[in-house]
Amino acid sequence: MLPEVGYSWGDVGSGLDKAMLALIGVLFALGLVSVYSAGISARTSTVAYVVRQSVWAGVSAVAYVAILRVGYRNFIRLSYWLYGATVLILVALDAMGAASKGAVRWFQIGPLSFQPAELGKVALILVLSRFCSRYPPDNLKNLFGALAISGVSVVLVLLQPDLGSSLVYVAIIFAILAVAGAPVKYLGSMVMTGIVAMPFFWKTLKTYQQMRLIVFLDPYRDPQGAGYNVIQSRIAVGSGGLWGKGFLQGTQGRLHFLPEPHTDFIFSVFAEEFGFVGGVAVVALFALLFWRMLRGAFRTKDTRAKLLCIGVVAWMWFQVMESIAMSMGLAPITGLPLPLFSYGGSSLLMVGVALALVQSVSISYVKEKFPQM
């Protein structure tokens, strides 16, 4: 399979959406500040997280640039292979989990750990973008085709068990189907089916997963146990007030009220120190980023690119909503990272890859609209 012609440095330079890149940079920088703050606790004070996160950012930046040169079309071309490979990795991971009788969510390669569920998000978006533009889900046959393809990875991730990631997959699938033209009655039926299936779904959850959902509804039901994190995270965010307590002045994260302050509860650390003003700024920056990410989707003629962009936005949007709402106890605890913020290599790298694919759409539009010699 010959690759389609990629993009030269000139193409990349002239087509680059610099505003989008700037938003990414600012959000990552704010995230790094929070990771630093989270690393300084009453027990340890370490810059190790910041250092590792920066190294991963460097790796992600290299991947970002490489993807811009290759162009999103080559990735869509390879999407069936990529998706197939990802499914195999997820199967292997589930097998390992079954063997070790516990949740296995990542591979350990030397000092690096890698979460295939993150890779799966990119592969899923690519494969669905291709399939749904070729076979629009405007009839049941195509709709079930798309659901069958994507359902495989949802089930595999659910089996890990990684409830949070599987919900991200669902958000991605739903958004792509909607933009690809699934009739409203189909979409509505899917939502209804989901609601009806909930009691059955509930029974398949592990006890700790059920507990997380219960304490979300009523944290004071188990204030010393599962509800504790919800209460303490809410105190962290709430006590930030209008302006926050100031950088490194937060007490909730550092006194070990917050579990995983540098990953799951990174926003709580941020909101405690930078308050309402900081929190609104972050939400607004994400909104602007999503807006900007969809600009290319509106302009391009390539339906695959439109679907690709909305898929990536759906992914990030869901995680932003979940992670921030969770920090206030407005959503159950799932352990999803806040994109660009949370400490974690494979999450950051895959977010970088996805954002590069979206950027590539913008570059391809500029190149085709204003071709140079």
Binding site: I235, F290, T303
Partner: protein, 580 residues
């Protein structure tokens, strides 16, 4: 081109989905407004009222014992009084706390207090020490004060004590406050600023075994500092004790023998490398270093001309002088340059081209074969043979005996000495190796440098039949050695030679303490002053148990100064053994 969805407008759907996404984010802002603005004050109170305080409980370090169970390093409990900077903000806070201490007979001004807190400050929630090294009586008195519990809390601290003071300082080392560099170097995140860590010797080498496991107490207190509940408690676990091979009684004997002298004495078991005596003289008291020494006392210690902090046994390098002749002899015999029948005539000097190398005995030794040459320490014999042997083969045998490499003893800071050789000289001095260099080298002068520990190890190999053992302090560490490729016959020749040194040669005085000693004298030229006196030997000569090496800096002749010290040390060790 790509198939377009012409039956509906994809961009219209995009707008819908985008708007759902973007507007749904208002939900997050509403949530934040509710919790941070409307309920903000309530949560600020909750955050400050539900204060968790993490108290790290430091474990006592493992004790260190000598070979007969005498404690060499132990811990005593003292108390620090700690507080959180977030509770000490206003001048009023400082005045109140210093007043509290003053009421209980602990002098402290509020400005001293403020200075101390500022110096230790990392973050408002990181506890700082406001008073250190208090006794249990002082602390219980303080705790009774109703004002005490509001901001202060006692923290038990283990203080390291070295009951034998300076006697085994170079072996045990000491502990001290962790430095910033050490903190950053630690990968396991065990330490915090203010922790103690082994700085030298056994304390540093076995830090991970000795340090134990920290415990943690998480307490929740209300805004007035009253304990609400203990949330979590993990006991600290004491570090592992370490039993050493060193013997304090023998070490005291060594101290007595080395009194007023500058140098080193080491004695070890020839079979398994157990170090019984390890003395670098003069020595120092590690106790003040552990408790916090004044800058003045510290610089006095560092600037002391006799350099008491220096570990001369493994960190001091000296020309081995004639004690090296056993290695030269091994090379000569093994490379078939000479055998027992090879005779060299010693007129008191050796002429090499225009250069004249003197024998220590100006009048000469007459005809010498190898056993006699060792016995009489005849330089000319070794001059002549080394020229035949050549430096490369001589170096090869030096390497075989572990010269130029650390012995592998289990304390840090060991030096490997200098094996030198052609390449070394070319690299270091940019000069070719001359035959004259070889001649000097053969009698342990010139570029060759060894530690007293290395010397003892070489002689131990002769004593135990050819095993180059690694000296060890930790009695639980398995003995390690490697074989020296020296034939039995040739080894016996050399053993006979060094036995004769004491029986009827240059080292007679070493054998006058009741045991047959085999060994060798040495005098190392010292460009800075009086020559260093050396003696290395083992005993009993026919069934060796212990080897001992002594160097006296500026001691002059090895035979008269160092020989008797080795003789007495070996006799002490053997008598002690016989007594048991």
């Amino acid at each position: 081109m790509y198939k377009s969805l012409d039956h509906f407008d994809a961009n219209q759907r995009l707008i819908y989905v985008r708007n759902v996404f973007i507007f749904s984010m208002l939900f997050l802002i509403i949530g934040m407004a509710y919790f941070q603005l409307i309920k903000g004050d309530e949560y600020v109170n909750l955050a400050s009222e539900n204060r968790l305080r993490m108290v790290r409980l430091l474990p006592p370090r493992g004790n260190i014992y000598d070979s007969s169970g005498v404690p060499l390093a132990v811990n005593v409990r003292t108390f620090d009084i700690k507080a959180y900077p977030m509770d000490l903000r206003t001048d009023g806070d400082f005045t109140r706390v210093s007043g509290l201490f003053a009421r209980h007979g602990i002098p402290m001004t509020s400005s001293d207090l403020k200075e101390g807190v500022d110096r230790q400050y990392v973050a408002p929630y990181r506890a700082v020490s406001v008073a250190t090294n208090l006794t249990l009586a002082q602390v219980s008195d303080l705790v009774m004060d109703p004002e005490f519990s509001q901001v202060l809390f006692p923290s038990p601290v283990w203080r390291r004590i070295y009951p034998s003071g300076p006697q085994v300082a170079h072996v045990i080392g000491y502990v001290g406050g962790i430095t910033r560099d050490e903190l950053e170097d630690q990968r396991d995140l065990y330490y915090q600023a203010g922790d103690t860590i082994g700085k030298n010797g056994i304390e540093s080498m076995y830090e991970e075994e000795l340090r134990g496991v920290t415990g943690e107490q998480v307490v929740e207190v209300d805004s007035r500092g009253r304990l609400l509940r203990n949330m979590n408690y993990n006991d600290p676990q004491k570090g592992n004790d370490i039993r050493l091979t060193i013997n304090l009684a023998a070490q005291r004997e060594a101290l007595r023998l080395m009194e007023g002298k500058r140098g080193a004495m080491v004695a070890m078991d020839v079979e398994d490398g157990s170090v019984r005596v390890f003395l670098s003289s003069p020595t120092y008291d590690p106790n003040p270093l552990t408790w916090g020494i004044s800058t003045k006392a510290w610089s006095a210690l560092l600037e002391d001309e006799d350099n008491p902090m220096m570990n001369r046994v493994t960190g001091g390098v000296y020309p081995p002088g004639s004690t090296f002749k056993v290695v030269t002899a091994a090379g000569i015999l093994m490379e078939n340059v000479a055998n027992t029948k090879t005779i060299v005539s010693c007129p008191g000097y050796f002429r090499l081209g225009p250069q004249n190398f003197r024998c220590w005995r100006r009048s000469g030794h007459g005809n010498e074969e190898i056993v006699g040459a060792l016995r009489d320490s005849c330089d000319v014999y070794f001059y002549q043979m080394s020229v035949k042997l050549g430096i490369d083969k001589l170096i090869k045998w030096g390497r075989e005996f572990g010269i130029g490499e650390p012995t592998g003893i289990d304390i840090p800071g060991e030096l490997g000495g200098n094996l030198a050789g052609r390449e070394w000289k070319q690299d270091r001095l940019g000069e070719a190796w001359y035959q004259g260099d070889t001649v000097n080298y053969a009698i342990g002068q010139g570029y060759l440098l060894m530690t007293p520990m290395q010397l003892a190890r070489v002689y131990a190999a002769f004593a135990n039949g050819g095993r180059l053992v690694s000296p060890r302090f930790n009695a639980d560490k398995a003995p390690e050695w490697r074989d020296v490729k020296l034939s039995k016959a040739n080894m016996d020749i050399i053993r006979r030679g060094i036995r004769d040194v004491v029986a009827r040669g240059t080292g007679r005085v070493a054998g006058s303490f009741g045991f047959d000693v085999a060994g060798k004298t040495g005098t190392a030229q010292n460009s800075q002053g009086e020559d260093h006196a050396l003696f290395v030997g083992y005993a009993p000569a026919n069934a060796p148990k212990y080897v001992a090496a002594v160097i006296i800096e500026g001691g002059g002749s090895g035979s008269s100064v160092a020989g008797p010290l080795v003789g007495q040390m070996l006799a002490y060790l053997l008598e002690r053994e016989r007594g048991r």
